[in-house]
Each structure stands twice: as C-alpha cells, then as structure tokens.
Symmetry: C2
DNA sequence: CGCTATGTTGAACAGTTTCAAGATGCGTGG
DNA sequence: CCACGCATCTTGAAACTGTTCAACATAGCG
C-alpha cells in the first residue's frame, strides 16, 4: 500500500520527515483527485518512483503488484496541521498511507478525555484496522502538514480477495501495529510517568530511524506537544512536563521545539525496560 | 484458522465454554500430535466438523480452503490451568486457535509487574501478531483447562503467500484485535478503576455471547480472578475488589465464583461509555 | 510588538497502591 | 461428612503518584 515494495537501499528521506522541499507532482492517473490544502511535498504520480516504498516497513512487492496497488489509489491529499484526515466511524472511511509529515489517531469520550492511540509517520498505513470492524469514533488528525495517498476501502477489500501479496502485506502491517499496541498497553498499565515517556521517545526514535537509516544519535524531528504525549500516555500535560524535566536533568533525553535528542540510549532503555525486537521485521520464511 | 468458515446457524457450544462433556477424537490426520495434559474436550479431527468454525468471528471459508487449513494443523493440545501454552519470543512460536476453555497473553517485566494483553476465548486465533515481528517475551497461559489446534508459523506463512482467503481472514482477525486493543488503551489511559472493570466485563460478556448466541441476560462463565482482571486493567487486585463491590452494590454487575452476571446493561454501558460496534463485523464488500 | 499556544512550577487534592489483617470459599484428605 | 489448608476476596489505614487548579515564563507568529 502507499507504494509498498522493493528492497532496502540508500534513501534520502530527510526532506520528507522535516518537511523541506516538495517533490514533483506531474502525470497523475485518471480520476485521481489532488486535494491541496497545505504545503507538504506530494507523493509522486507513479508508485514505482516513491521513496516511501523502499522503507523497511513494507514487504517486497513485485512491479506488477505495485501497478495493481497504484490502480487502487483514488486520491492524494495534502493538509495543514490540525486537519481531520479521516473519521473511522464514517461508512466509507478509506485507507491512507502517510507520505510526508506526522498524523495521529485518537478517540475522545463524551466528557472530553482524549486518548491518542497511535502516531503515524511517513510510510505508515492508516485505517487498516477498520477494514473489518467499525471502530468507535476514531479520528485521524494531521499533527504537522501532511501529504498522503488515499485508497477506498471497497477497492482494497476487493483487491485483497484475489491478491495474496496485498493481503499478506496488510496482515504484516497489522501484526506490527499489534505488537506496538501491546507495548503501549504495558506502558499505560504498569509503567510510571517517567518510564512511559522514556519508552515512547525510544519507540518513536526507533521508528524515525527505521525510515531515515541515518543519524543514530543526533536530533530527530519530534512534532508532538506535551498535550499530545500526555494523551498518548494516559497522563496530564503537567505530568509529562515534570517527567521530561527530570529526564533532561539526568542527561537522558531532551524534547524541545519539535526536536528530540536521545542523550543516553542505554540508560534510557534500562530505565523503562526497552527492547527493540518488536519493531524489527521477522524473517517471513 | 482453527477450522474457520461457514455461515452462522444454530450451534450448541455451551459445553465448550463451560467445559462439560468431551467431543469425539477419532480419525486424526497423518503426523498430527495430540498432547493430552488435561481434561477439556478435544477438537474434532476434521475441521469441517468443528463447531467453532461456525462462530461469528471467522470469515466464510469454502470447503477446499477448509481442507487446506486443516493440512496446516500440526498438533492438538490439551492442557490444565496454568500451563504455558506458548512463548512468543521463541524462534518458532506457532499459531493456535482455542477450541475450549480460556487462555490469556501477558508480559512480565524484570521487576515482576505483569500486564495481561488479552484474554482468549474459544474460536480466537492466538499469536498471529507474531507472524511479522518477534514480540517482547509475551507468554500465553491457560486460564482454565484448554484445548487448542496448533499451526506452525512457517506453514501458515507459506500458505498465506498463495491463499488470499487465508491472508484476508488473518488480516480480518488482526483488525478485530486492534480495535479491541484501542478500546483497552482508552480504558487504561482515561477511565477510572470502576469504569475499566465495567468496560472489560461488558466486552468479555459481548464476546461470550457472540459465541453462544443465547442467554443475553443470564449468568456467564467468567474464570479470571481479581488478580487477572487487575493485571489486565493496570490496577491492583485490591482496587478491582473495591470496584467490583461498588458495581455490585449499585446493582450493575456481579462477579463471583467464576460467574459474571450483567444486571443492568444500560446503566453499565452509560457508566463506562460502552459501544459494541467494535466487535461487530463490518460488511466486507 | 503583542497575542496565543505551549511549557514550567507550586500547592492542595484525589484515586490508587501498598501493607496488613481477617473473612470466605473450595478442594483435599481424613 | 467434617476439618484443614491454601488461594482468593474483602476491608482498613497510610503512603504515594499523578491530577487539578492556578500563576507565570517562554516561544513562535502575525
């Protein structure tokens, strides 16, 4: 999905993560919409040209499968921060793959409590969990300016019926999601505020690095505010602030102005019981 | 998986959920192991005879696909309560479908804190999330006496490559899991002890009823202890006890001696913001 | 330059944990 | 059938972690 496939190799995606320059947008397919509400770079017209495709989170796709996937794409969407990208309770909520920028899914209860369920980075497939069940009013919102490919639910389901590679790929991504959710569940259930923050920072750092394949110790783009982190971690924004202050004071990590710096990965990992196996793909056969 | 397929219809599965009489176990396929460590009823030899197959949580399977799935099964396992059924970190952790009894997955940190990630009821596929990524030391333990079908990971992966129905079915089950995890995440992040317990009780009651298709208001089998509930909800056993006492006093629900009674579904649902859409299958096309 | 969103810090409060003691229930063996 | 023993559940009181409310600081943006 979202132009999956191909083998890993040297990729320059820094511009995608940091919202730098825009990519070319010529030669669209028939019937494709481009909703241009923001400034992030739009994905290329042909999936084969898509840098995202090479990222580690996709299973290899052959050229003909890639072409089939590209036919499923119904639109390209660009949107500024804060835009509601998707409402899963809607009858025909589509699937999306983030091409550039960050988004997040969340649920809000009647009394206004918000729980962020996941952050979405470039290359992530969003909404696959709602292929099967209608979720409970989950919203996807752009955290930064975002560009994404849109795939209609019905088309994807129809294609899955006779395209094992697509089904397997989606199953694969869902499995990875589930592993991440298990870790998050452990955080909310059994870790202290400080440990939760440390763990989330390490997870997002690992996910960013899987995409960039560079700069292991350096500053990483990190758009979420304390409020976002609090709503993801089941805390108040004040608790996040205090936890962040303590981690910074101990020289472990630093979050400021949209940038995350992991200063002492080993002590951080020891603090929160971090292990990275759950993000690393398993050999499939 | 675990004999999926077929359309809903009148089914008598009370015995499976309550661990009553055993089913016949003749005519096994070649090379199939039967590990008999306990007393629960074993699944039938032929997937086509499997009552579980008819349950709502599976997508329809044709007869030939059913036969293919049956060929993947490597063993049948019966085990008493407390048995470690599976260790996901193991190199070749298999997949399992529960046929009778309850199980649960959990992770335990170095300092002994346990987080239960999910409960598994008859018909549930366990371990699919580890097809793609090696989880972080997740263990599956029998909560009651359990019988289950075992499928080797490699065989399933190989079959998925060219069997879209299987891939789609697994994607479907993973999607349902993810929706449940989202709800659980909301619980741990944003609900009080009382609300968490109410919500979990409603969810498990709904899942039991999806299998039994009977007895909507009556007593339901409910094996988890306060300790299990606490570890699933991110609470202490004492907090669960206090929450349960309050819910009972208000005439909302009652948990005692392995039996759950939902006394006032409407007020319970209002209390915790329960909605059932996330368990109900969406029309696929 | 000033507005607004975000981050920081303090103090009172609340919900949950922890520790502890006792009650209840259930299976086992006499 | 009853007595014992162990696991589970219940209840109380103190301690703790995080929440809430409030004031202020800082940064980014028009």
């Amino acid at each position: 999905m979202g132009c999956p496939g191909a083998l890993p190799g040297p990729v320059h995606l820094v511009y995608v993560l940091s919202l730098g320059r825009a990519a070319g947008t010529h030669g669209r397919a028939d019937g494709e919409t481009v909703m241009d509400e923001g400034q992030p770079p739009a994905p290329p017209a042909r999936c084969a040209d898509c840098g995202i495709r090479r990222l580690a989170m996709f299973r290899p796709f052959g050229p003909q499968q890639l072409a089939e996937v590209q036919r499923l794409r119904s639109a390209i969407r660009r949107a500024p921060p804060g835009t509601e990208l998707m409402r899963h309770s809607a009858h025909d909520a589509p699937l999306m793959t983030i091409y550039a920028g960050w988004a997040f899914s969340h649920t809000t209860s009647d009394d206004g409590a918000r729980q962020i369920l996941d952050f979405h980075l470039p290359g992530d497939l969003v909404g696959a969990e709602h292929l099967a069940v209608k979720g409970t009013d989950t919203l996807v919102e752009a955290l930064t300016a975002v560009s994404a490919c849109v795939f209609p639910r019905r088309k994807v389901l129809a294609e899955m019926e006779h395209n094992p590679a697509l089904s397997a790929s989606i199953a694969w991504l869902l499995a990875r999601d589930e592993a991440m959710l298990h870790e998050r569940l452990f955080s909310l259930g059994r870790r202290s505020a400080e440990e939760r923050l440390a763990h989330l920072a390490l997870e997002l750092a690992a996910r960013i690095r899987l995409r960039r394949r560079v700069d292991v110790g350096g500053p990483l783009p990190f758009p979420p505010t304390h409020r976002h982190l609090a709503d993801a971690l089941g805390l108040s924004a004040e608790a996040v602030s205090r936890a962040a202050t303590r981690l910074r004071a101990h020289g472990l990590e630093q979050i400021a102005r949209g940038v995350l710096i992991i200063r002492d990965p080993d002590r951080l990992a020891a603090l929160c019981g971090w292990r990275d196996e759950y993000l690393v793909p398993r050999e499939m056969l």
